[in-house]
Structure formats: C-alpha cells, structure tokens
Symmetry: C2
Subunit: 125 residues, 2 copies
DNA sequence: ATATGTGCAAACTCTTTGCATGGAG
DNA sequence: CTCCATGCAAAGAGTTTGCACATAT
C-alpha cells in the first residue's frame, strides 16, 4: 500500500548512518548527506529519520543539550558518552550489570539508558 | 551587587520544590505554584528555575519525552525512572557501582545518569 | 527612592505540516 | 502516467527576551 520509493535523498540519508559511529542530530545528517544530495532540505531529513525509526531501522536517542538524535538500530547494545565541550555523542560498548534491578518493587522496567558526561579525548586539551 | 529579592512568586516556586518527590517541568511548577501566587506567569518560572539552578539550589534533569526538568540539588545521589504511560519521572535511590569506569581510555568522566524506562506501579494496571 | 522582579507579548529555535512541483515505478 | 517524495514557506510548540509597570528593600 505504501511502497517506499528509492530516491537520491533517501539513499544519501541511509548512507550517512552506515558510515558513522555515533548518534546524529537531524542537522548533522543534513550536513553530511548534502555531499551526495545537494538539494536535500531539513524537512526531508526529519520526515525520513522518523520513517526509518518507525520501521525499526534507526533508534531514537535523547541526550541532554539538543533535540533527538538517531542511530542504526542494528548496533549491539551500548550506551553513550556526551562531551561537554564539543557536544558530540560517542558510543560506550560496555554496560553495567543488573541495571534493571535498581528499580523498586512495583516498577516494570523494559529498557535502560546510561549516559556518561565529561570530555572526549579531542577536548581533553 | 545583585541581591535577590524575596517575592511572593519566588517563595511559591521554592515551596513547590521542597514539597515534591521528583523532577518537575516548568509547567508542573507553574501549575503547583499558582496555588500560592495566582498571578504567576510561565516566564517568571523559567527565569527563576534558571537562577536557582545557577545558584546550585536546583539541578537540571533532562529525560526523554519533554524539555528540561528541575529538582532540589540537596537530594542525595540518585537516578530516574520514566513511566512510558503517564510520562512522570520517579527517583531511584540506588546506583550501579563503578559506572564511570565504563568509559574507554582517554575519556574524562565527571558525572553520569542512569534512566530506567517502563511502567510505574500506578500504570501497571 | 531606587533598581530588581514581574507579566505580557513579541522574538527565537526546533520541528512539523500544507501545498505545488519533481521524479520513481 | 500515477502517486509518492521533495522543497519551500508557513504553522506550531517550547523557551527566551524586551519593555513598562509593580514592588522589595
């Protein structure tokens, strides 16, 4: 009923995510994707990351300091490090154990997020 | 140089935080504070939570699904549980150990946040 | 009396939506 | 040739700011 059409813009957006190591804001995506699709507009990025998130190809990541970010859903379980200096987000590939057991009785936990804050190697002077 | 004046509006805003158990959005604060300061406007809430956060009396908490929330800075170290049904935030008073050691070499960690997602007791039907 | 604080409304930023045109199938 | 997708611009939602008036000190 709603066959997805394979446009230059969509190819460019998907390529960006396949090529990058951390979560991206729509602006990040626009900037990078314009290399392959110069006429690309921000509204198209918003529409498409939303579609890709609904289809389960991307996941939404919300970190302090800016709006929603997106990353490939296929990546293995991981968490994030936010650099307070450059505002970039990095992946952390380890996870504390038994995090979900921290909830008190009566709370049903279905997911968790761990965010570390500080300075990334590039910003540690 | 900038002596803080003690207005009815500010007393109402501070009272709200002293009386509540989790992080609040500016809208939450407005609604509750208007009981004691009926003319209170949203802009005044924004200005004052910002001042109180700068003074270190409140801390900023950013959780998915809405803008910034605020809570008393004096509370002991804790994390948060977000109910996916009612969008309310609850405090979790336990913390996984050695969280900050999860960062790779070269990252300087100065703080961390742990967020659990799921359903609160009231929303577990 | 003086200068900070407040309330309102306008400005801003980020995101979404409406509509005519472009392009995939 | 059909419709879906795009780009632009306008509309929304949330937050901040400018300004005249109110008020704490």
């Amino acid at each position: 009923m709603h066959p997805q059409r394979d446009t230059r813009q969509r190819r460019a957006i998907r390529a960006v995510f396949l090529d990058v190591a951390g979560p991206l804001t729509p602006d990040d995506v626009l900037e990078r994707a314009q290399a392959h699709a110069p006429t690309l507009g921000l509204a198209t990025v918003y529409r498409n990351v939303k579609i890709l998130a609904e289809k389960g190809w991307l996941t939404e990541v919300e970190l302090p300091g800016s709006g929603m970010r997106y990353e490939l859903a296929a990546r293995p379980h991981h968490h994030h490090f936010m650099c307070r200096a450059c505002e970039k987000a990095f992946d952390i590939h380890r996870c504390p154990e038994a995090v979900e057991d921290l909830a008190p009785e009566g709370f049903e936990v279905d997911d968790h997020e761990v965010i570390l804050f500080g300075r990334c190697p590039a910003c540690c002077t």
